[in-house]
């Protein structure tokens, strides 16, 4: 029971803090709304401001439980003393009784479904890994810290700041409930907008279409941020529309703040800002209101950019790494990641309409089959409100093809739903809503949707009230939960764990270094690949021999472009009279691409390699500065067989004779790979049956130099032995 109270306290404090701050801001702005609008806009604007406050608390390392109790209480008290908590007496005309009853009963039922799942232990894929993993990390560190092993931590985290406030008191479920608040807020805002525009029935219909959409439900009850994002952009739209009607200058302050907060929630929603600026310019061709919007937005955008510029050398990390090269996220990774997100492995993009409405298996969730009627929304172009809605839908869906997961349609969904609901055939619209309700209930989805599509299963009150064991629930629904509990129990504080897959790191304290989530993780993955894959082993030596000559610098460069591959060098060695010239601390090394990795070609480890971050580019090179001239008569590049050695030139020595030799794979690569992990403070490995190195870890534990700590399900945890613990294993 105590846990339930903490969950509710965490959620309540966060919501109350945001709401009170919003009430104060609107009070100061002097903008009057109806009672329903006051409540929704207060929470929304307050959430933006409260998130920003938590950002700065994090910068100053003030994440303490007391702060997250004291701050909201202070805000509530301040709002009360100002008289800002008094709600407006203005109200919209009442909705028809039949509409209230029918909509209330449908939404009430789904509300139970949503609330119970939000309050149940957090089991979502991204929520249990990075969304709350990072929140938990920040809270443990008492402040926001750069987590260079996860590019996700470079994304703006506006909603995660709110999660953090709730997490400090009520842990994971409290955070999920904060997101669930936005799930209830969004349809309420949609109804309010439509009522203000004199279309209450359309508003209710559109709101139900969104509220019941299966992907909105499952996303909204999880520690994700897509539903919150949808609420924020709809807030921008609503306030702009209100400004359009009243031209109250102070509304633009809130518009700017929410447009800026859109960026803080999700980079792609930075489109809110040009949308708002465009609208203001369209209606009032003056610079001042535009500057007001821009200035307020900047207050929410700039702090995130400054943080990233300082911590990631890239203000918009983890994107645009070609513009802002940095050692934390590889350009090549960004390119491949974007390509992956744009396809999700679909054979054809023409399957998207089916996937996002019916299937849900490949694109993680579905909107519901009735959204196949979406083209009918075009009919609403006949009236001005319809045109506005569809323009907003177009803007906020325009980035969808950068990530075609169904949930990325959510920011535009309210506009589409309202445009659909505005169709003049009210009975048809209401019938569609009824069908949508029937098809969106979890038991119905089983009949038409993909069985692995992301969705809710049922009302889970026993789990929500912790009558059913949290451990059992998490173990059943979070595949990596058992292994992270083992990690939490066995891995000492400060030690890191390496994994080729994301783990439910929100449930453990040790840092998980995931292979694909950072440049560091990738470098370590390459070391492991180099040890195991024949095409990656350094079995090719390219030798440049020439008459002895004093060299102050040696540089090799590629002589042609090769767009599909990257250049790599395991080791670059210099010789004189057959003996390798020992590397001196005075030497300096350089590479035109991925310069920070250049030392990997000079570390005497054949498990590591310098790996360019761009395709083969004519003229790119790797160089070593010897400080002062040394006699050299041979330069050797040790490379893998997948490199076209004939495209490489030793600069400045045209008479050098080039020879390619194939040599036996060196022994000891497995251990050498793990020594790279140790060198980066990674002392443990979590691997799952099915991963390509799993059997080798098991069968060659001596060669790797590891010991098994334990097994949970199909996953194993190993400790990497220190060098002094290695036994003499082979004769």
């Amino acid at each position: 029971m105590g846990q339930i109270l903490y969950i509710l306290l965490g959620w309540l404090m966060t919501v109350a803090g945001a709401y009170a701050l919003g009430r104060i801001l609107w009070f100061r702005l002097g903008v009057r709304f109806t009672r329903d609008e006051e409540i929704t806009f207060s929470f929304l604007l307050g959430a933006a401001a409260y998130s920003q406050v938590i950002f700065f608390l994090g910068i100053f390392h003030l994440y303490h439980r007391g702060v997250f109790i004291g701050l909201p209480l202070t805000l509530v008290l301040a709002a009360w003393r100002l008289g800002a908590l008094t709600l407006s007496v203005d109200r919209f005309p009442a909705l028809p009784r039949w509409l209230r009853l029918s909509a209330g009963s449908i939404c009430g039922l789904f509300g139970l479904l949503y609330l119970s799942n939000a309050m149940a232990p957090e089991i979502s894929s991204d929520g249990s890994t990075y969304h709350l993993g990072l929140v938990a990390r920040y809270y443990r560190e008492r402040g926001m810290v750069p987590v260079h092993t996860s590019f996700y931590s470079a994304l703006s985290q506006g909603v995660e700041m709110l999660f953090l406030s709730a997490f400090a008191l009520g842990r994971h479920s409290a955070a999920a409930m904060v997101h669930c608040t936005f799930l209830f807020l969004l349809p309420w805002m949609m109804v309010n907008w439509a009522r203000r525009r004199g279309m209450p029935i359309s508003g209710v219909a559109g709101a139900i279409l969104v509220f019941l959409a299966p992907v909105a439900g499952v996303d909204g009850i999880s520690a994700y941020n897509d539903v919150a994002a949808a609420a924020v952009v709809f807030g921008v739209f609503s306030l702009l529309d209100r400004w359009d009607q009243t031209r109250e200058a102070n509304l633009l302050l809130a518009v700017g703040a929410l447009a800026g907060f859109s960026y803080a929630v999700k980079y792609t929603l930075a489109l809110s800002l040009p949308f708002a600026v465009g609208w203001v310019l369209w209606r009032e061709r003056k610079l001042r209101p535009v500057l007001v919007v821009l200035a307020c937005a900047a207050a929410f955008i700039v702090p995130w950019m400054v943080r990233n510029a300082i911590w990631w050398n890239n203000p918009v990390a983890p994107l645009f790494n070609a513009w802002f090269p940095n050692p934390y996220v590889h350009q090549w990774f960004e390119k491949e990641y974007k390509a992956g997100m744009a396809r999700y492995g679909l054979a054809s993009l023409w399957t998207i309409p089916f996937e996002v409405t019916f299937g849900g298996g490949n694109l993680a969730g579905r909107l519901g089959p009735v959204f196949l009627l979406a083209p009918l929304a075009l009919l609403s172009l006949r009236n001005p409100m319809g045109r506005r809605l569809l323009l907003a839908w177009l803007v906020f869906t325009s980035t969808y093809f950068t990530n075609i997961g169904t949930r990325f349609l959510l920011p535009g969904l309210p506009f589409l739903a309202l445009a659909l609901a505005m169709l003049p055939w009210t009975r048809l619209v209401l019938a569609t809503v009824a069908v949508h309700a029937a098809l969106s209930w979890p038991d119905s989805i089983k009949f038409y949707g993909h069985k692995y599509g992301w969705r809710l299963d049922k009302i889970v009150w026993r789990e929500a009230m912790r009558i059913k064991s949290e451990e059992a629930y998490l173990s059943a629904f979070v595949p990596t939960y058992p292994i992270v509990r083992l990690i939490d129990a066995q891995v000492p504080a400060g030690r890191r764990v390496y994994s080729f897959q994301q783990l439910a790191e929100a449930y453990c304290r040790p840092e998980i270094v995931v292979a694909f989530q950072s440049a560091q993780g990738e470098i370590l993955a390459h070391s492991i690949h180099n040890a195991l894959r024949e095409d990656r082993k350094p079995t090719v030596q390219v030798r440049y021999t020439f008459p002895p000559r004093p060299l102050a610098q040696a540089r090799v460069l590629v002589t042609r472009d090769w767009p599909d591959a990257r250049w790599s060098i395991h080791e670059m060695r210099l010789f004189h009279q057959g003996a390798e010239i020992p590397r001196s601390p005075h030497w300096r090394v350089h590479a035109d691409s991925a310069g920070e990795q250049a030392p990997l070609a000079f570390d005497n480890s054949l498990a590591t390699r310098w790996h360019a971050d761009v395709p083969w580019r004519k003229g790119d090179g790797v160089a070593v500065d010897l400080g002062s001239p040394l006699l050299v008569d041979e330069v050797v590049l040790e490379m893998s067989p997948d490199q076209p050695w004939d495209g490489i030139l030793l600069e400045g020595i045209p008479e050098a004779k080039v020879e390619r030799r194939v040599v036996a794979p060196p022994l000891g690569l497995r251990r050498a790979a793990l020594e790279e992990l140790l060198a980066r403070d990674v002392h443990y490995i979590a691997a799952e049956a099915g991963e390509y190195w799993f059997a080798d870890l098991q069968n060659r534990s001596d060669s790797w130099g590891i010991e098994e700590i334990g097994t949970r399900g199909s996953m194993r945890l190993y400790r990497i032995l220190a060098n002094h613990e290695l036994k003499r294993i082979m004769k």
């Binding site: 910068i59 100053f60 390392h61 400054v306 510029a309 300082i310 050398n313 890239n314 203000p315 802002f324 090269p325 940095n326 050692p327 590397r583 001196s584 601390p585 030497w587 300096r588 090394v589 350089h590 310069g595 920070e596 250049a598 030392p599 990997l600 000079f602 570390d603 005497n604 480890s605 054949l606 590591t608 500065d625 036996a664 794979p665 060196p666 022994l667 000891g668 690569l669 497995r670 251990r671 050498a672 020594e675 060198a679 098991q698 069968n699 060659r700 534990s701 001596d702 060669s703 790797w704 130099g705 098994e708 290695l726 036994k727 003499r728 294993i729 082979m730 004769k731």
Partner: protein
Amino acid sequence: MRLNFFALVLLSGCTPVPQWYSIPNQRTARPETEPAGIGSFMTFGEKQAPEHIVSDVVAGSGTEVWRWTNQKPTLKFVVMEANRWTFQIAFALPEATWKQTGPVTLRVYVSDQLIATAANLPSGRHELRWPVPAGLLKANVETIVRMELDKIFIAEADQARLGMILENAGFVK
């Protein structure tokens, strides 16, 4: 703390990425961690695999990822310590040969001591594991493992005697 942060904000845009880097700490190769000769486990396709063969494995070029065996394929292994090992073997009984032999029984002997019997094996791929009794293995000493099949396929055309398709075998922890 506050001063530091604001100083950082004011003084830094994106920090320039350095052009030249120092020579890193030099790593020491540890070839002894992997068997130059034979080890505790062998997988066909690996360089050292042929060195594990004692007898009754059909000859190959050395690069195959599996090999046919005869009736009593015998391999040798070296383990680093004596205790807590499991013997593991992955092999296949192809449908084509199984049609002639019917269900097959495999017996595994470690140092001439029977440690396991797998009876009535159907066709298909099998991956089997049995614990090795304590005291049977000696550290850093060659151990002979003999596998016996009760029936083998004999080709009508060339009288080739084919037992199973062996992928890997050896001692694992």
